[in-house]
């Protein structure tokens, strides 16, 4: 018996519960020759803001033990550029396209969300709330509950697309943010974003990244992510998409077991571009071995 892997994340129907993590899979074409995009559960594209951005100075990445430190700085073509250059390509595939959006102000978030609202081929929006808020000072949208509430509410009012805020890991109570997202009308939540971190060179006495600090991703953060996903999944009824260090089907099954309705493969795609597809096949095989008919039968199967 072939298990049914399909799942629905806040109105986005997916063939399987494995999507790509934003920022690790480009906009799709970069991996299309290596991976059959149609076999993915969904593609989450690199973060898009209102206008074209260049990102941070180099070096932007540094290797860490069991992980990757990055401060890319969200370079991108802006809404119009993304729609113009990438959407015709992505529309060729039978896979939901989730656009990760970000802004420097709430108005920018709203503007970006509104512009994507009627773009054919966009299945949903993932809201990156971890960028600095220039207009409101140095607070981060993702780590200030009031700001978080304001931005999610504003975006909710600007779009009819399924909305999935991506939660920051460096908060005191992740459940508060999950509940807040649900209360503000989010259709799902995803977590976690990379963990703020830094790396230095003792010879040069300089930071390893031009931006000084960056975000840590990869297997190093998986235990942190797993805990946060477990806490968030207990706090809300809306679907939770878990990510953070997933590199194998076993990793993904752990996230699903603690309550994630779907998972995203991130840093591992840099090492093996087809990791996400291997995860899909591994989940399918595992469910078949356990004689489970659907992936939903495994979601939340954790026995604490």
């Amino acid at each position: 018996m072939t298990p049914n892997l399909s799942t629905n994340i806040g109105g986005i129907q997916m063939k399987n519960p494995v999507m790509t993590a934003s920022g690790t899979f480009g906009y799709g074409p970069e991996y299309a020759e290596l991976v059959d995009l149609n076999q993915l559960g969904a593609i989450v594209v690199k973060g898009i803001c209102l206008n074209e951005t260049k990102g941070n100075q180099t070096p932007r990445t540094a290797e860490a033990a069991s992980g990757l430190l990055n401060a890319i700085g969200l370079p991108g073509p802006g809404v119009a550029g993304f729609v113009r250059e990438y959407m015709p390509f992505l529309r060729q595939y039978d896979v939901p396209v989730i656009v990760n959006i970000w802004g420097k102000t709430i108005e920018e978030y709203v503007e970006v969300a509104a512009r994507f609202d009627s773009i054919p081929g966009v299945a949903g929006l993932e809201v990156n709330v971890s960028c600095p808020n220039i207009k409101e000072g140095s607070a981060l949208f993702g780590t200030d509950l009031k700001m978080f509430e304001r931005v999610v509410k504003a975006i909710r009012n600007a779009t009819r697309l399924p909305l999935m805020p991506k939660l920051a890991p460096n908060v005191a109570d992740i459940a508060e943010y999950a509940r807040c997202a649900e209360a503000c009308g989010a259709d799902a939540i995803s977590l976690i974003n990379s963990f703020p971190a830094m790396s230095v060179n003792i010879e040069t006495r300089r930071p390893m990244l031009a931006n000084k600090t960056g975000g840590l991703s990869g297997p190093a953060i998986k235990p942190i992510a797993l805990r946060l996903v477990w806490l968030a999944a207990q706090a809300v009824k809306i679907p939770v998409v878990g990510m953070g260090g997933i590199a194998s089907a076993e990793d993904a099954l752990e996230f699903l077991m603690v309550g994630a309705r779907a998972v995203a493969v991130g840093t591992a795609s840099f090492i093996h571009p087809d990791t996400a597809l291997k995860v899909v096949r591994g989940i399918e095989q595992f469910l078949a071995e356990k004689n489970l008919a659907t992936v939903a039968d495994w979601v939340g199967a954790f026995d604490p």
Partner: protein, 523 residues
């Protein structure tokens, strides 16, 4: 010899008169004219008393122009139109009513044919005797079909080897023009009610919308012979003008809108007397047409841009030198489209959003690039897709400018730039375009079209010539058929130029849309 009483002679005379009357008189039955026309006809035209009106009709310069487009010299046309033979021919066939129809496929032959029927009444007997006694090489009597006498006439100069097959039935001459004389079998079978005819379709005969002497209808070919038709009527006016009405199916709820007095006044100030073609229409009407007929992503975006809560108008104009533009280096008239918008400040955002959506569907990569004409913002629409359009010169690209009440799109940036510069320089006086807007309001119309035929013919002729030249240079042999068609198009353009102006008003008429037009004559 016994002398007959007077009463005998009176009765004998009355008997002869009665017999003659009985033989020659056939009660007029106009519906019978349609019995001869196959139901699958796609074009029908009926004419009353053509013979009596022929002198006036033949003098209409439009017919001479049409004849010229059909490669008949004007002198030859005048000669033939005014000849005694033509008048006699019309006296014989067209003193009452004549019906002509085009049938795209006759059942018997599978070929197209022209079918006609003319009411002769008692004169049909005289014609029968004439045809029987006539010694003419081009006319021969064929075997009768369904009991009706049939003659085949092969006049000289008929195209495609077509022949005219005639049949005389009760008070009517019916016939068809087709290379295959077998086609008359369909016509007679229709008349004898063995095949469906237009007489079986009340819509084809009774819904001819007015009692004009010249009227008819046409419809698109299709499997359903009773599909919707577009009816028309014509009036040949003194002075060589032609007026008429065309009735097309329309939404029943269509109401006449009130066009606000200042609608498109900003565009009107730019146009002044410049355009040689101008079309003004109710914005909601055009939007409805686009939504109904062009349900594509592009159509939906255009309809979206035309959306507005307030009554508004949309206008098209065609302008020539010095406001022409170029397309791949070929100089062409500039086509302009302007429509009122509820909130002009939102135009750029709405256009950008439309581009976003189209770019998401098609690999066009449309990008608006700002260019300033004085203080006026103008956006040239560029493409990043590497297509033929993206390789065009910047001045050749489509452009738009948000105006005070409306937005103006142009087929090229060059023409738009010149228009905006000149509009700023010259005093804004009431021009031909503004008059057109007023005539639309006065006529309570949903739409109004005005064409300066002399100027637009010149424009179109230049454009066609330039295009033909380009084709000849690029592919002398391969482009020959296309260039031939372009030459024919030029002949038609020239044939209409002497009419000077064409005006068309569109307005609701019951559940139809009425297009009233006037071609030529004094304004």
């Amino acid at each position: 010899m016994k002398r007959r009483p007077l009463m005998f002679w009176v009765l004998l005379f009355a008997g002869i008169v009665a017999a003659s009357w009985w033989t020659l008189h056939i009660p007029r039955d106009p519906q019978a004219l349609f019995r001869a026309i196959p139901a699958q006809a796609t074009w029908l035209t009926t004419h009353k008393n053509l013979a009596g009106r022929w002198t006036d009709i033949a003098a209409n310069p439009l017919l001479a122009s049409v004849a010229s487009a059909l490669e008949m010299e004007p002198e030859e046309w005048r000669e033939q139109a005014s000849s005694e033979n033509t008048q006699e021919f019309l006296d014989l066939l067209a003193r009452d009513e004549i019906v002509l129809a085009y049938v795209p496929e006759m059942r018997s032959t599978g070929e197209p044919a022209w079918v006609f029927s003319a009411w002769l009444g008692g004169r049909s007997q005289r014609l029968r005797w004439t045809l029987n006694s006539l010694k003419e090489a081009s006319l021969r009597q064929a075997a009768s079909r369904n009991g009706w006498g049939v003659w085949v006439w092969t006049p000289k100069g008929m195209r495609d080897g077509s022949r005219i097959t005639l049949a005389l039935v009760e008070g009517m001459l019916i016939g068809c023009i087709s290379p295959d004389t077998l086609a008359i079998e369909d016509v007679l079978a229709c008349y004898d009610r063995q095949l469906p005819s237009l007489a079986d379709d009340t819509g084809a005969t009774t819904s001819l919308t007015d009692d004009s002497a010249d009227r008819g209808w046409f419809r698109m070919s299709g499997p359903n012979p009773w599909g919707p038709r577009i009816h028309y009527s014509l009036k040949f006016l003194p002075g060589g003008a032609l007026a008429g009405k065309v009735y097309a199916p329309s939404a029943p709820s269509m109401a006449t809108p009130v066009l606000p007095a200042n609608s498109l006044s900003d565009f009107s100030d730019i146009m002044r007397d410049i355009p040689s073609v101008a079309l003004v229409a109710d914005r909601a009407l055009v939007r409805g047409w686009i939504e109904g007929g062009f349900n594509t992503p592009v159509g939906r975006e255009v309809a979206g841009l035309l959306h507005g809560e307030e009554p508004g108008a949309l206008a098209f104009s065609l302008v020539g030198d010095p406001y022409s533009g170029r397309f791949n280096a070929v100089r062409l008239p500039t086509l302009l489209a302007a429509f009122t918008v509820d909130d002009p400040t939102q135009v750029t955002a709405r256009v950008n959003a439309a581009f976003d959506r189209l770019n998401a569907i098609y690999p066009w990569g449309l990008v608006p690039q700002l260019a300033m004409v004085g203080t006026q913002r103008v956006y040239a629409i560029e493409s990043t897709a590497g297509s033929a359009y993206s390789k065009m010169e910047a001045n050749e690209r489509i452009a738009y400018a948000p105006l005070q009440q409306s937005v103006l799109f142009s087929s090229n940036l060059e023409g738009l730039t010149k228009l905006l510069r000149d509009a700023r320089r010259e005093a804004t006086e009431r021009g031909r375009f503004a008059e057109g807007l007023q005539r639309m309001r006065d006529g309570h119309a949903l739409g109004y079209l005005w064409i300066d035929l002399e100027r637009s013919a010149k424009l179109l002729r230049l454009a066609v010539t330039a295009w033909s030249l380009k084709l000849m240079i690029e592919d002398p042999m391969g482009s020959q058929p296309t260039r031939q068609k372009l030459n024919e198009a030029k002949a038609w353009i020239d044939s209409l130029a002497p009419q000077k102006t064409l005006e068309v008003w569109a307005r609701p008429h019951q559940d139809l849309l009425e297009y009233e037009f006037r071609l030529g004559g004094e304004e």
